[in-house]
């Protein structure tokens, strides 16, 4: 009998701490599968950010460094500049990358750092209990936007993938979702592509993954999953926004 589905070698055999219905576990798995696919587990260094994703060193069977809140992309750049023969990735939430760490993210992309950022966008601060994020949708109620996000007070949700795609240093920029099998397969492909871009030394690669957060959205898991399709994707369209065909140095 053929084994058609198993835990990726890159994931440690322990249960995720994520809430029921949360998509972080799926995104983690896709990253692990990409690392397995390229057989780079033993040369990969992960950089954890601050938020629900901070515990990634408990799950990924690779060397992991913990960055201060928002600084993961700068930390990863430092790792990569010191060890160009290693594969370096960050896994950052929306608060981490799009709020406190937006400067580091933009400049990392602009320098064309040959690293991969997996950007987990669920439009809310999960770890701290459901506060407004830079990607919280207009009208969305959170613990710090109790009347719903209002652009006159809070500005608009930031589309990170589109923004980073404008930078010359970006080699691959995509937005994906994992809310249904079709989207999941595209997400898997995009994450794999991002690592491939790094392996081929093409430059900065970035995959934004839209995730559900049932707990802090205050929705049952299925409804939260549906909200990704009905509310998030219309504002955060899926697709590839930048795909460099060859490296700058070629």
């Amino acid at each position: 009998m053929d084994l058609v589905f198993k835990r990726p070698e890159c994931l440690i055999d322990i249960p995720f701490h994520f809430c029921p219905g949360c998509h972080h576990g799926i995104a983690h798995r896709l990253v692990a599968e990409a690392i397995d696919y390229f057989k780079i587990r033993e040369k990969t260094i992960g950089v954890a950010s601050v938020g629900c994703s901070v515990f990634m060193y408990d799950y990924f069977n690779v060397d992991v460094l913990e960055a201060p809140h928002g600084r993961a992309s700068a930390v990863a750049s430092g790792v990569k500049r010191a060890r160009k023969d290693r594969i370096v990735f960050t896994y950052q939430g929306d608060g981490d990358l799009a709020a406190i760490g937006i400067a580091e993210g933009i400049h990392t992309a602009n320098r064309g750092e040959n690293i991969t950022i997996i950007f987990a966008n669920n439009g809310i601060y999960g770890m701290t209990g459901g506060q407004m994020a830079p990607t919280t949708l207009l009208g969305q109620k959170t613990t710090t936007s109790p009347y719903g996000r209002d652009f006159t007070y809070d500005g608009y949700p930031i589309r990170m993938a589109e923004m980073l795609a404008t930078l010359e240093g970006s080699a691959f920029v995509a937005r994906v979702a994992v809310n249904n099998p079709a989207n999941l397969m595209k997400a898997k492909k995009a994450i794999r592509k991002a690592f491939q871009v790094q392996i081929e030394e093409m430059g900065f690669s970035f995959v934004e993954v839209l995730l559900s957060c049932p707990t802090n959205w205050g929705l049952p898991a299925l409804e939260a999953n549906r909200r990704v399709e009905e509310e998030m994707i219309p504002y955060f369209p899926l697709g590839i926004f930048k795909e460099r065909k060859m490296a700058d140095y070629l």
Binding site: E42, A48, V54, Y57, L65, V75, G78, A82, R86, H107
Partner: protein, 353 residues
């Protein structure tokens, strides 16, 4: 490395950059700020041909985190800045102390608070010696007073930082950074250092390494803090460095560090010419502070005059160190002007009795 045993005439800042290269540090991350720009300028020219990396980051926040990442791979790496930039780095320094990462941070300090000015100041003593960032940690802090020491102490800082897996700081100022003096570019004997088996290099043939400062399990963080404390205690036992000048039989001892120690030394010589029994005590390690040495000195000398380019910071450590019947006086100059040796001499005369 090209090491010239002959004397060359260089700026203090350049001496630091040369020492970094001679110590095997080929990774530099920084952001421009006066009065330390000679360091990034020198390294931006000299690191790439050596196969090193130089990044002019978008901020000091990025610089310190690039440094954190590079250091995590076990490579020697550094940043440099000046006071306002060092303030921005405090978060990263706290994380490095918590994650037990070695690195060199150079502060060619200027004056504050706020934007302050670019003149020499010793106003960052508290920030440097008390940790600076959040949490219960310390940095190894070395205070050079000559261009030669800018070189020698930079080499030492890399070794101490590796030895203790703890960030180390060179605390200089505009005076020593911008001044040119003869330098012998000869690296000190390297220490025998522990292997960096903690470094992140990819989990090949071993379990994954983790570098982190988050400890949430019951008792874990308390244990981690005590472990860090043990390192600081070991530093206090093994790494104290100071210079004492004419302190034996001295009646009054001037205590000063860095640039102020040079002005004070001349003042001590002038006082001796006038027949006063005056000596100079210059801490080279500001952390660990040479408190026991000062205590021993204070058994005989009962008068201390601390001279600083601020309104009184190291004087607190001097007061904590000396015997209870010793008298500790202070002469401070906030940024803007430097005292002449004659002015320091006047202060000595005020308290010498």
């Amino acid at each position: 490395m090209d090491q010239n045993p002959e004397k060359i005439l260089v700026k203090g800042n350049e001496a630091i950059a040369m020492a970094a290269i001679d110590s095997g540090c080929l990774l530099y991350f920084g952001y421009p700020i006066t009065p330390q720009n000679d360091i990034p300028e020198y390294l931006s020219k000299h690191l790439p041909p050596l196969g090193g990396e130089f990044i002019q980051a978008e901020s000091e926040i990025a610089s310190i985190n690039l440094l954190l990442g590079a250091s995590a791979t076990g490579a020697r790496a550094m940043t440099s800045s000046s006071s306002p930039g060092i303030s921005l780095m405090q978060e990263g320094i706290s994380y490095m102390a918590g994650s037990e990462l070695p690195a060199l941070i150079v502060n060619i300090s200027r004056s504050g608070p706020g934007l302050g000015g670019i003149s020499a100041s010793q106003g960052d003593y508290f920030q440097a010696t008390r940790g600076g960032g959040h949490g219960d940690y310390r940095m190894i802090v070395l205070a050079p007073s000559t261009v030669q020491e800018m070189y020698d102490l930079t080499c030492l800082a890399f070794d101490l930082s590796d030895k203790y897996r703890n960030p180390a700081m060179i605390l200089g100022d505009a005076l020593i950074g911008q001044m040119k003096e003869p330098l012998v570019r000869k690296k000190c004997e390297p220490m025998v250092l522990p292997p960096k088996d903690w470094a992140l290099t990819g989990a090949q043939g071993r379990k994954p390494n983790r570098l982190k400062s988050l400890y949430l399990q019951e008792g874990e963080l308390s244990e981690h803090n005590w472990k860090l404390h043990q390192k600081y205690e070991q530093m206090r036992k093994e790494e104290i460095r100071f210079e004492s000048f004419l302190v034996e039989e001295a009646h009054l001892i001037v205590a000063a560090f860095g640039s102020m120690a040079r002005v004070s030394k001349t003042a001590v010589e002038l006082a001796r010419e006038e027949g006063m029994k005056v000596g100079l005590f210059r801490p080279i390690t500001l952390f660990p502070f040479p408190d026991k040495t000062l205590f021993n000195l204070s058994k005989k000398a009962k008068l201390f005059l601390t001279v600083e380019l601020n309104t009184g910071q190291m004087v607190e450590d001097v007061r904590l160190s000396v015997d209870r019947d010793a008298e500790v006086y202070f002469y401070g100059r906030p940024p803007g002007s430097l005292p002449s040796p004659e002015e320091v001499l006047e202060e000595i005369k005020k308290y010498y009795h």
